[in-house]
Amino acid sequence: MNKYLYKQFFQNKVYVFSLILLFLLGIVSIHTGVTFLEKNNQLMQDATEYQEQSIQKNTAHETHIGSTLYYIKFHLFNEPNKLTALNIGMRDFTPSLKGVTIRNLEEQKYNTDFYNPTSALAGNFDFSFVLIFLFPLIIIAINFNILSQEKESGTLKLLSLQSGNIKRIIDTKLLIRFLAIISIYFLLLLTAKLWIGIALDSTFSLFILLGFLYILFWFVLCRFIIASNKNTSYNALSLIIIWIGINFIVPMISFVLIQKMYPIEEALQTVIEQRDGYHNKWDEPQKNTIDKFHNIYPQFKTNDTIFNNDFNWKWYYAMQHLADVESMKSSIAYQSKIKARNNAAKLIGYFLPSMHTLILSSELALSDQNNILAYENKLKDFHKEKRLHFYPLIFSNQDSTVENWNNHKLEKFKAQSNVSILELLLPLFLIITILLIISHKKLRKLC
């Protein structure tokens, strides 16, 4: 029986064309990812060279180290993993490289390389885009009329009388289509693995499993709709409406609600506070500023400088740091709101397979909001480390020659994804099981 069902499927030129198209689009998406990784590698190399050249240039003359450090930027690279090529996610519009001086951090966080926002309008055509949006379309296209076509072409009665079990025939047809789609999926992943060199570790395995379950979800959903035994146009329309609803309408409404639930005024507030904190200090007596600084860092207290409002580097860096301190509360509040938004999106994702797949695949690929927050935190630590390294030199009025600048190379940060298998599997597994049970009952009525 299966031989003929296979033959019928592969004799349909539209189906075969759809599969080939899906594969080609998948290849294009992998190419997008490869290009993204190459750009990032290039960026890292350029930044390494830039930092070396900048240090050379700024340390060529003997001067107060405070003056040298005014200009030198230290770079921290948010290293993507190979899997990021398959889900570029938020890295699309957040830089993977930030360079900071030891002056106030909050202002520099957002002073990044020039980026043309219009290039982000269409989003990135990465593998996750193909998986989340295009795979379901093809799945709908090859499944929506599995039963209705038999009914409308007049073969259903004969099938029903001959087999006595329409459910078995529908499931066999679905299985054939599932095998065809899943073969394309694995073929694309194999191509990605070989092309990009992704290691078959637990992260990649979870990524594969997530996509597998997502594809399975769409097949089970199609089975659920098919089992209603309605006509072809009803099935097609229902599935397309669900596709639009799940992928666009519900997520958009959810994001609006999340934004309303967690308004982030702190972003602007942080900038204002750090600017005020910094600019106002130019008009305040230096003594006030340096005392506040020494309350935080008493180890840098010295008696060799008179703070009489003439410019000096000790006061300057104290003032810079206090700007960060004054905006710290807002900065922390901003981060916690972003986390809350992210958690709310995750929660909604438990009921929306496309959102769940998108969020978790981004987490696995280190291209999600958590990765950005982790990178920001690391940047903060990195900045602090540099500050505390140079403060003793600044506060003892050293010149730039005392430092071994060769030790200051570009540094890399690589986050670890913390996706648990339960968190990944459970929502999809539950939705798939519920749909299977309901469609099973509906199909039994047909037999």
Partner: protein, 231 residues
């Protein structure tokens, strides 16, 4: 082999069947005559298990169609007015596919024999169904029914649209199947063929079985006269 007891079928305000009573023995060929909308197809669909009667009972081989619609499927076959099969598969592939889903796995030679039995010329066996005439598709439909080894065959307007030669071949095949012990229930408009192939004839009007006759007692002309008077 086939029995209907006081079958009623109502669709909202329309009554399609009024207390239908029919009984057929093994090997009998029954032709149900009647105008369009008389209730012939409704009767067949109840026996096939596609429609539930409003009241009454229907049995095939002693098994209730209403209570065991799945169980009776192995004993019955259906050949509609236009046999719809898979156009991209060949005649022999269609036969093989529909036999396999019925649980029968035949050798290539056995499949050929079934098609030859129905009179389908050998040159057509490996041609795609989309190239077949209506008569050729009917023959594949009968081959599927025979290969299933069904005890009861339901035919709905089987000779409608067939040319005289194809009709004649079809009639011979039905008679042969009847002689082999198949019970055949046929809804038709064709009075001439009904007298030629059937052992019993029923005339339906507006959901009621008006007349039940033995075919051998009537010539086609006499039956036509009676039919016109009755209708």
């Amino acid at each position: 082999m086939l029995k209907a007891t006081n079958l009623h079928k109502k669709y909202d305000n329309n009554t399609a069947l009024y207390g239908l009573n029919i009984e057929l023995k093994k090997g009998e060929v029954y032709a149900l005559l009647g105008q369009n909308g008389a209730g012939k197809s409704t009767t067949i669909n109840i026996f096939l298990g596609f429609i539930k009667p409003t009241s009454g009972e229907a049995f095939i081989n002693g098994i209730s169609v209403i209570e065991n619609p799945q169980l009776i499927k192995k004993d019955i076959a259906y050949i509609p007015e236009t046999v719809m099969l898979y156009p991209e598969l060949t005649g022999i592939e269609n036969l093989d596919f529909f036999s396999k889903i019925a649980g029968f796995s035949y050798t290539h030679k056995e499949l050929i024999d079934f098609l030859i039995l129905t009179g389908l010329q050998e040159s057509a066996h490996h041609r795609k169904l989309k190239e077949y005439s209506k008569g050729m598709r009917q023959k594949v439909g009968i081959a599927i029914a025979v290969a299933k080894n069904a005890k009861v065959l339901f035919l709905d307007e089987p000779t409608s649209g067939l040319d005289p030669i194809a009709t004649n071949e079809f009639n011979e095949l039905i008679c042969k199947l009847g002689r082999e012990g198949k019970t055949i229930f046929m809804a038709t408009h064709d009075i001439f063929n009904a007298t030629k192939v059937s052992t019993k004839i029923g005339i339906m009007k507006q959901g009621k079985l008006i007349q039940q006759l033995d075919s051998k007692d009537f010539t086609p002309d006499e039956l036509q006269e009676l039919y016109i008077k009755t209708i």
